[in-house]
């Protein structure tokens, strides 16, 4: 009996009248109005920027400084842009480029995250490989292209290899950084509570590194599309880049530009999807670092 008495809740209970925690304040609703107005203002500014860019484009076109074969008017591009959306050739090219980019990205994740975790938790290996990593990440991957084309030909495999060797670095570096950067207070906590190695790895080091690794993956995702298109432009491998380059040499600049815009959109959408996924699975991180607490 005396035992259960020992653990009955103490008299000190948090005062319900005092705000405890980030409970929503009742006056928060009042700010909904200005918030929406700010949002509308933001959209207006974005529209204004777009109009301004189109205006400058049209002025450049109208000045006649560049031949219309180089700078087509934006309405031509718009027509091509819409036309591509219903063109099966475009969709095949998009699928080809996306699959190369995503396979390269997936390989980078499969290699970069485990290797990064390993290097992050073994300082000796990290120090001895650091110069290699520094070299690798500053290496211009496109310079590899001629060698790769010679070795593998202008093929899908070659494209995947080049994408991989371009985007594995941000993932690797971010993961290493995340695995190494454990808050000293957390390190002390783990030590003083005698958390065993394996548990520490899975419950502390890994979740700690996750947001960093995911940031690396997001950077890598945009870069993977960029590199895939770049490789296709230079080596005329089938895909968006290949079609783009061919449109340019065939004197269809509006079509080429439409492809360029689609390439950009693909990168943007991919980034957005990853951003949403990150918020879904690593929401705690944004809440912790996002301030507001």
């Amino acid at each position: 009996m005396a035992i259960s008495e020992k653990l009955s809740p103490p008299k000190v209970v948090p005062d319900p009248k005092r705000p405890s925690g980030p409970a929503r304040r009742p006056d928060q609703k009042r700010f909904a109005g200005p918030a929406r107005r700010r949002k509308i203002a933001l959209v207006m500014w974005q529209l204004a920027t777009a109009v301004l860019i189109l205006l400058v484009w049209t002025l450049v076109y109208a000045s006649g400084y560049f031949s219309p074969d180089l700078v087509p008017p934006f309405w031509d591009v718009a027509v091509r842009f819409v036309g591509l959306a219903v063109d099966p050739v475009f969709w095949a090219a998009l699928a080809a480029t996306m699959s190369s980019a995503l396979v390269g990205l997936a390989l980078s994740i499969v290699v970069g995250v485990p290797v990064g975790m390993f290097l992050g938790i073994t300082p000796a290996f990290y120090r001895s490989t650091q110069f290699l990593i520094d070299l690798g990440r500053s290496f211009p991957v496109i310079a590899l292209l001629p060698v790769m084309v010679l070795m593998l030909g202008a093929t899908r495999e070659m494209e995947v290899v080049v994408v991989f060797s371009g985007v594995v670095w941000p993932i690797l570096l971010q993961t290493i950084y995340g695995a190494r950067r454990i808050d000293p207070v957390i390190a002390d906590t783990v030590r003083s509570y005698r958390i065993p190695m394996g548990l520490k790895f899975f419950k502390v080091v890994l979740p700690n590194a996750a947001p960093f690794a995911v940031t690396g993956i997001r950077i890598a995702a945009s870069a993977s599309i960029l590199i895939a298109v770049g490789v296709e432009v230079l080596s005329l491998t089938p895909g968006m880049g290949g079609n783009l380059a061919r449109a340019q040499t065939d004197g269809a600049p509006a079509l080429a530009l439409a492809y360029v815009i689609y390439s950009g959109l693909v990168g943007l959408v991919l980034n957005k999807i990853l951003w949403l996924a990150e918020g879904r699975f690593l929401g705690w991180n944004r809440r912790v670092t996002g301030g507001g607490q």
Binding site: P9, P14, S20, S192
Partner: protein, 268 residues
């Protein structure tokens, strides 16, 4: 059933060992650049005692606490738990850090945080969750187990950190400036929680603080550190026993006297 079992265990953990440091010195750096922070300290924490360590900032209070926790090896002298020398963190000693917002893991719910050290001991999930629940209850947080630490106020986070130390079933709790960054009212509540836990669970508690009022209010003995390197300049016995009150105790003439004595020692 499991509940009763856990409570039995918790009672078993009631402080039995004396935590002490014997002529402990600590220096940082090496050779001619070495700076001695603590010099020949002798401090004892008897079972079920609350000992507060006060001193001006930079006096090496946190260094001493880290030595007591087994996180920092002393340069000379010994840290003893009973007759055993401590060379690493031991499960008899739980630590509550000053920076609660960083010591709770943000990717775990509060209850999982409290139960986490038990997982390291190989306790089954349902059992450790039940114990975590109990310990959250014991610190006055019955309903927040499902929330993440960053959804709690500062005072609640520090309660959760205390619950984690309790769940670990330590018999000695080390607290480093535990209430330095919460508001005054929360601070009083948490001070009373500390006294309450000592009384109900029979654990020993060491609190490092720079607040002399807090030290005298909580402690059976106040250890005063001062100087460079820091030495124990005084040990003040506080005669208020287990039951204390924020108003009456602090108005007591003996409280004022102890306070004056410590303040004079720290000023010099």
């Amino acid at each position: 059933m499991t509940t009763v079992q856990n409570l039995d265990r918790l009672e078993e953990r009631q402080a039995r060992h004396t935590l002490s440091v014997q002529s402990l010195s600590k220096s940082y750096g090496e050779g001619a650049d070495a700076v001695e922070v603590l010099h020949e300290l002798d401090v004892r924490v008897e079972p079920n005692e609350v000992v507060c360590i006060v001193g001006p900032s930079g006096a090496g209070k946190t260094t001493l606490l880290r030595c007591l926790a087994g996180l920092l090896p002393p340069s000379s002298g010994k840290v003893m738990l009973g007759d055993q020398e401590m060379t690493e963190p031991l499960s008899e000693v739980g630590v509550v850090f000053q920076d609660y917002s960083r010591s709770l893991l943000p990717w775990m719910r509060t209850k999982e945080n409290v139960a986490f050290p038990l997982q390291g001991r190989g306790m089954g999930r349902s059992q450790r969750m039940a114990l975590a629940e109990q310990c959250l209850d014991a610190v006055g947080l019955p309903a927040v187990g499902r929330k993440y630490p960053w959804q709690l106020s500062g005072g609640m986070q520090q309660r959760a950190a205390i619950a984690r130390a309790l769940a670990y079933q330590s018999e000695i709790l080390l607290m480093d400036e535990p209430f330095a960054s919460v508001d005054a009212q929360t601070r009083f509540d948490l001070e009373d929680l500390v006294l309450d836990l000592r009384k109900r669970l029979g654990i020993s508690i060491v609190v490092v603080t720079h607040d002399i009022d807090e030290a005298v209010y909580l402690a059976d003995r106040v250890v005063v550190l001062s100087g460079h390197p820091a030495t124990v300049v005084d040990v003040v016995d506080v005669p208020f026993g287990m039951d204390r009150d924020q108003i009456d105790t602090k108005a007591d003439a003996r409280f004022t006297e102890a306070r004056r004595r410590i303040l004079n020692e720290i000023r010099h």
